[in-house]
């Protein structure tokens, strides 16, 4: 935390005393000032972004989970779907986002779709790799108990995937917000993305960074939530009391 503070102070000093123009780098004090001054507008524009992020990420998580399961259970489905998913990831957002917006309008739907598009694959890869990391002995044991594939999945593969899942979650949650902003950038009435675009086109670098600040805070909060969830979800990872390091 200290390091972040240091960076901000350094930035402030540099912005003030290097004689660099505010166009290139507005000072943090200025950014915060602007953020406070326009807090109402920022707040109004943050809500749609949160909505897009949360719904989009929710859909993406659900879809990633469903497909990871399908793909885990059927090698054929895996071979059929994986190329499609990989290809979906290879499409540059800058080219796709405008099309999605044109097809689905300016409402919430295209934003949710784009956020999902950005975050779906990391979650899917994490889950699939996590399932694959399951201990063979444990799986054989379950099979010997007469556990169905579903039971084996629930009892062994799913818990084994948790550390991978959380690694994926940390990555995607940061992309989710960025993805929502990007989606808005491609076409929207309101939202932080639009706010940034407007600020930029009205030549207000201070406001651009104020919106960026809000966006960063939002992401940090979401990131923090994932860390907390991981703590709660994996108690057995926090055992090493008395261990040296």
């Amino acid at each position: 935390m200290l390091s972040v503070g240091t960076l901000v102070v350094a930035w402030e000093l540099y912005a003030r005393f290097s004689g660099i123009s505010a166009i290139m780098l507005p000072a943090p004090s200025r950014v915060i000032g602007q953020a406070l001054e326009h807090r109402q507008a920022l707040f109004d524009n943050t809500l749609p972004t949160i909505r897009a992020t949360v719904f989009g990420f929710g859909c993406s998580l659900t879809a990633a989970f469903v497909f990871s399961v399908l793909v885990d259970f059927s090698g054929r489905l895996r071979r059929a779907l994986f190329p499609v998913f990989i290809i979906s990831q290879t499409l540059p957002l800058v080219a796709i986002a405008p099309l999605v917006v044109l097809w689905f309008g300016f409402g919430l739907a295209p934003k949710i779709m784009l956020v999902a598009l950005v975050t779906f694959f990391p979650m899917l890869v994490a889950l699939v790799q996590g399932y694959a990391a399951t201990d063979d002995d444990i799986q054989s044991l379950l099979a010997s108990m007469g556990a169905s594939r579903v039971r084996v999945f629930l009892l062994a593969r799913l818990p084994s995937s948790l550390p991978y899942f959380f690694a994926g979650l940390r990555i995607s949650i940061t992309y989710a917000v960025v993805g929502a902003i990007f989606a808005e950038y491609a076409g929207a009435a309101k939202g932080l993305g639009i706010y940034i675009l407007n600020a930029k086109n009205n030549f207000r670098p201070g406001l651009v960074l104020a919106a960026v600040l809000v966006c960063a805070t939002l992401t940090l909060v979401l990131f923090g939530i994932t860390v907390l969830i991981q703590r709660v979800a994996m108690p057995w990872e926090r055992l090493d009391q008395g261990r040296r390091r």
């Binding site: 201990d135 044991l141 379950l142 010997s144 108990m145 818990p159 055992l239």
Partner: protein, 249 residues
């Protein structure tokens, strides 16, 4: 003589380039306690893996109650050599695993398992995670997980190897009592000749890899066995050690 519960006919298994099981034929009758002795690495655990379906045979047949063992059917309660405890489950939940798979609710399963914790020297450790247990305690937890399943047949892969003499004797006595009460059919892999004699009706001795059956010894001592110092027991022990130490097919 009753029909065999389990019958292995000329089972073969090879791992690329390595013949492990050359020709394993053995039978276990209902209610019988049979042990397998054999040199380390000869393929004992592999036999269990073939039975539980973790590996596929390269030849031979496995009959259970006279019919080939199909994929879906798993009549065994299996204790693997490495305990295979789930690191993310507390000990109590690890031991109820088999019951949960059988469809019992968590609380029912716990009820069934909980009274045995004291007997297995694990009371007070119900809510610990496997990483917090000693080697022998893990092994006992794995054994507990196995026996509470009450399947047609037990497959035990060195269940007592990590236990001291006292604990081991206790567990063996418990197992024998249970076996007598429930007339479980059991197949046990062990390194301990005395253990084999103490528990078994019959003992198969395997050769070095590629494994064949080297000897089959019937232990016709009365149950429950308490006195292993009896001359009959000592004789069988001596014969087994002799076979193991000087294997001549």
């Amino acid at each position: 003589m009753s029909a065999p519960r389990l019958e292995l006919r000329q089972l073969r298994k090879r791992f690329d380039g390595l013949d492990v099981l050359a020709d394993i034929s053995l039978t276990v009758r209902p209610g019988e306690f049979v042990s397998i002795l054999g040199p380390s690495g000869c393929g004992k655990s592999t036999i269990f893996k073939l039975l539980t379906g973790a590996l596929q045979t390269d030849g031979g047949e496995v009959l259970f109650d006279g019919t080939p063992l199909e994929d879906g059917r798993r009549p065994f309660a299996f204790m693997p050599q490495r305990d295979a405890l789930m690191p993310w489950r507390r000990i109590i939940d690890n031991t109820t695993l088999g019951l949960e798979v059988q469809g019992l609710s968590r609380s029912q399963a716990r009820e069934k398992v909980a009274p045995l914790f004291a007997e297995f020297g694990l009371d007070g450790f119900e809510r610990h995670y496997p990483a917090q247990l000693s080697g022998g305690m893990r092994q006992r937890a794995a054994l507990l997980r196995t026996v509470v399943q009450q399947r047609d047949m037990l497959l035990l892969d060195e269940p007592f190897s990590a236990l001291d003499a006292l604990t081991r004797a206790g567990m063996q006595r418990w197992l024998q009592a249970m076996w007598e009460r429930h007339r479980w059919t059991a197949l046990l892999i062990t390194h301990d000749v005395r253990e084999a004699v103490f528990l078994s009706d019959r003992i198969y001795v395997l050769t070095e890899r590629p494994a064949r059956v080297l000897d089959e010894i019937t232990v016709s001592l009365p149950h429950p066995r308490t006195d292993l110092a009896s001359p009959e027991a000592s004789a069988i022990e001596a014969r087994l050690l002799q076979t193991l130490l000087n294997p001549q097919p």
